[in-house]
Amino acid sequence: GGIITQTPKFLIGQEGQKLTLKCQQNFNHDTMYWYRQDSGKGLRLIYYSITENDLQKGDLSEGYDASREKKSSFSLTVTSAQKNEMAVFLCASSPGTGLHTQYFGPGTRLLVL
């Protein structure tokens, strides 16, 4: 078995601030994902990474940067936090595509004042 750890659990920021969220997995999975979950909505893909040092944009990448410097970690940066923004950011990992399920972390809850 393995586990996905996301830090911080809660993140409160100010409008215009750059904010970084971190994700670690010990599954030794190749692929990692960042999703945004808004209240009452489904998950939307922000960035994903097929392997170390690879970055692929999802449907919601504008306003975000990502970094995959190690196989086990995947960071997401909100480049300029928007006032009153509130969402949960979920990190996931997978051995690969299609035949493999995704395993999700507990999430980081973001609130921008």
Binding site: G98, T101, Q102
Partner: protein, 113 residues
């Protein structure tokens, strides 16, 4: 383009009844289809998937789903339902080889004891 529709935002039923959560999809080829569950305060957990072959797939916690190509559906079923099944359920699609999931908006299920 690929999309997933879960037409029922909320479903309420009594313990012991049969549950069926609807999911329809749009994709130009044969998709991979998934169901995930999110219990209150927790992250997403994998329930089951359809890749190919038998159109009825069984998953964890007594759930099963049927893939129907004729009407592009992948409905989740369980009988009988238990109060502990109360959660939000997400249907997801992946186009083979493209690494990206598309999630539906989710169905919030409430099972009354």
């Amino acid at each position: 383009a690929q999309s997933v529709d879960q037409p029922d935002a909320h479903v309420t039923l009594s313990e012991g009844a049969s549950l069926e959560l609807r999911c329809s999809y749009s994709y130009s080829a044969a998709p991979y289809l998934f169901w995930y569950v999110q219990y209150p305060g927790q992250s997403l957990q994998f329930l089951l998937k359809y890749i190919t072959g038998d159109t009825v797939v069984k998953g964890t916690k007594g759930f099963e789903a049927e893939f129907r190509k004729s009407n592009s559906s992948f409905n989740l079923k369980k009988s009988p339902a238990h109060w502990s099944d109360s959660a939000k359920y997400f249907c997801a699609l992946e186009g083979p080889g493209n690494y990206k999931y598309v999630f539906g908006a989710g169905t919030r299920l409430k099972v009354i004891a």
